[in-house]
Symmetry: none
Subunit: 146 residues, 2 copies
């Protein structure tokens, strides 16, 4: 399971260094193959290939004419690419995603249990500053006892 935030950088060739913390989890549980995609073009989602296959299996249960399935696959196909980790533990991010999400230079790599999320650090920071907690948010958290 991936957890937490490890800031790192994407070099000029578009290679993402997988933080050592996450690398350990990968070496333990997964292979070298990944599926990198996105739903919105803003953040890259990095799935160990085994995890992505599980999602495909779940989708397989839906009709091909299900509009949600179509939208989901259109997006993930548009942004997606299967990539292999190199000997230095780096992943080449698809060019389309680097451009649309400005995923270059300083980025945040966030653990999201079964997959990793990569996003431009500066944009992330700005989003957090702008998206304040509302009273409803606080109420929701209260009810959960957080």
């Amino acid at each position: 399971m991936f957890r937490g935030n490890h800031p790192t950088r994407v070099d000029e060739k578009g290679r993402l260094k997988v933080p050592a913390e996450f690398k350990r989890v990968i070496d333990e549980k997964y292979g070298q193959q990944f599926y990198i995609t996105s739903l919105d073009g803003k953040v890259a989602q990095v799935y160990p290939f085994e995890e992505w296959e599980r999602i495909e299996q779940k989708l397989a249960g839906l009709s091909n004419f299900n509009p949600t399935k179509k939208k989901f696959l259109d997006r993930t196909n548009y942004y997606g690419q299967q990539v292999e980790m190199d000997g230095q533990g780096r992943l080449l991010l698809p060019q389309l995603l680097r451009e649309s999400g400005q995923i270059k230079g300083e980025v945040a790599v966030l653990g999201n249990l079964t997959y990793l999320v990569v996003r431009n650090l500066e944009l992330f920071k700005r989003e957090i500053e702008e998206d304040k907690f509302t009273p409803e948010d606080e109420k929701t958290l209260d009810e959960l006892g957080i």
Copy 2:
């Protein structure tokens, strides 16, 4: 199995360079023959010939008077052509399809498991931007645990 998006271009002669990633899969599992067709004229579907034959076999099980079969064959015959990959790994796209789907210049080649989908990159991008996820879509995905 074909997966993900590999943007490429169709040259002035209408030749599609098969992205190396997909080429590897083809060399491994299939021959040099393809059947290129479409159901809507907007996107080209590129089947390794062996896969297309499987579809034909499935259709063979239906009556010739089945209206769905008739429509399907009318369309795929209208757009379809059998083509062979050249020594440089390129496929000549049927002219009809190049025109009706504006499949020229920058295109996306999308893996769709057993076949490839080719579509104009700009049109694809526009479609994704316009076709937003609705709250119902999110609910459906939630229920699947995605």
